[in-house]
């Protein structure tokens, strides 16, 4: 499948006015995002996520390496027509109302006057801002700005959406609605690249994830590739006497009694033997789990390793 985003050896060093050593914000980043793919860039603050997005938007220039969108230079105007961008903290012209802002940007996209009203109406309805359309942006809450930020990114029905922390600052309901909207856009076949530090969000939405840390891409792949397979089994059982627990302990299982039940954690390869023992000793199986590490655990481990 064709790459919509193509990044090769992208490096960005921020230097002071007088030169000097500078801060290496991004280090030889190689990245491809295929058409229709949802790619998440995760990393702690200062890891280079926003720098990467700014380079892709042509807001800053690479120290070395190259970034291409749709096979063209990022500053190519044909690329801008296919692109929708939602900034991290949407700051807009506060002398305009929500509707005026969308109309202003629609004009810049060359949307014809006759179609502007319908497009703006549809987008305001989509992000749930129809009722606040005539309110000045300076009176909008952070969540409202975030919604208008998403609406303006969709004005040109873009093939590629670049979202920087799309749900940051939103209440749980707002974040849920934006996530659903992104899922809908994903279903429509849009290519989505977004930066986030909300790992559960990335896990839910993304086909592939890249983990950035101090400007380096530490890991990149599908969620399945990044998360290790489960290595343990957790069995919650009821009615097991002390001798049975002792036998389980001898097998290497960890037993923790709680609320009249026992939570048994054992290596995955011993699951059948543990289950057989529970059954033989008169225990009633309540729950069987094969917990898989979350992206958050993988991420924390990675950051910890790097810090050490």
């Amino acid at each position: 499948m064709a790459s919509v985003v193509e990044v090769q050896g992208l490096t960005k060093v921020y230097r002071s006015f007088f030169g000097g050593i500078g801060v290496r914000a991004l280090n030889h980043l190689d990245l491809q995002v295929a058409q229709g793919e949802t790619f998440g860039l995760v990393g702690p603050n200062g890891s280079g996520k926003t720098t990467c997005l700014k380079l892709l938007l042509g807001l800053i220039f690479p120290t070395s390496g190259k970034a291409m969108l749709f096979g063209r230079r990022v500053t190519d105007m044909r690329v801008k027509h296919l692109l929708g961008y939602m900034p991290e903290t949407p700051y807009f012209y506060d002398h305009l109302t929500g509707e005026q802002l969308l109309r202003y940007f629609a004009q810049l996209f060359g949307v014809r006057t006759a179609q502007q009203r319908k497009r703006v109406d549809d987008l305001l309805a989509l992000v749930g801002m129809s009722e606040r359309r005539n309110m000045l942006l300076r009176h909008y809450s952070r969540g409202m700005l975030q919604r208008i930020g998403l609406a303006q990114a969709l004005l040109n029905d873009p093939a590629l959406l670049i979202l920087d922390e799309p749900t940051s600052g939103l209440d749980p309901v707002g974040a849920y609605q934006i996530r659903n909207l992104i899922l809908e856009l994903k279903r429509q076949g849009k290519t989505i690249l977004f930066a986030s530090h909300l790992l559960n969000e990335v896990e839910t939405l993304c086909d592939r994830v890249g983990v950035l840390y101090r400007g380096d891409l530490k890991a990149c792949g599908t969620i399945d590739e990044l998360l290790p397979q489960p290595s343990q089994v957790v069995i919650v059982a009821q009615g097991l006497a002390a001798p049975a627990l002792a036998r389980l302990g001898e097998m290497g299982a960890a037993c923790v009694p709680a609320d009249g039940m026992v939570r048994i954690t054992a290596p995955l390869e011993q699951s059948e033997q543990v289950l057989a023992l529970v059954e033989r000793d008169g225990g009633r199986l309540h729950e069987l789990l094969r917990p898989r590490p979350t992206l958050e655990q993988v991420f924390i481990d990675l950051v910890r390793q790097e810090a050490e």
Partner: protein, 254 residues
Amino acid sequence: MRSILIIARNTVSEALSRIILQLILIFALMFLLLGFFFTYMTPGEEDKMLKDLGLTVITVFGLVLAIFIGVSLIQPEIERRTIYALLAKPVRRLEFVLGKYLGAVAVLAISMIVMGVVLVGALYLKQHMWNLGLLVALVGVFFSLMIMTALVMMISTFASSLLAIVGGFVFWAVGYGQSYMTQLAEHADNKVSSTLLQVMSAILPNFTYLDLRLPVVDGIPIPLRLLSKMGIYGLGYSIVVLAIAAILFNEREM
């Protein structure tokens, strides 16, 4: 061209919504009206006084307005990050610079028309005839404002708002003090200093070319061909400064 006009229109609506700019304009009108009142204290010289005071007030407040508008064009867009979403749209950086400048010039034109109508109207009420020289002088002031806006905008493509404001006032002082620079060059101790001062004098803006206050006040007829000379200098200088601003902004990281 379409993007330039759209950005210019937004710049006008943004500038007109700014309280500080409205206040500067209100103060200018207040000073003009107050000045008209004081002309009665100089019997026999009322018309002279009216023209002198009126043109001085319009020039001073116009330049203050130009500096504040010029400084609000680029740097606040970067500081408030409104430019991120804008430059992600199909807008070239050059179009952004030109659109912003065009919007600023439109705001200055509106302000000049408001102030000019009050001055020309007041003089008409006294003399019962239109003063063409005064109109030409007002056009000269407008060209000065165009140059000043372009200069402040150029500084703000690479420096902070504060530095752009300071730069604006320095250009103002230098631009109206060009005669002193010429005298200094003539009386310089050595050739190097003299040449340096002459080069600086040629590069820096010379607002005295566009300042017709003295001949207008003294009632000396102003030839209309002066208008085209002022136009060439004002527009030419502004275009050169704008080109430098566009080059600097093209290299600017957001």
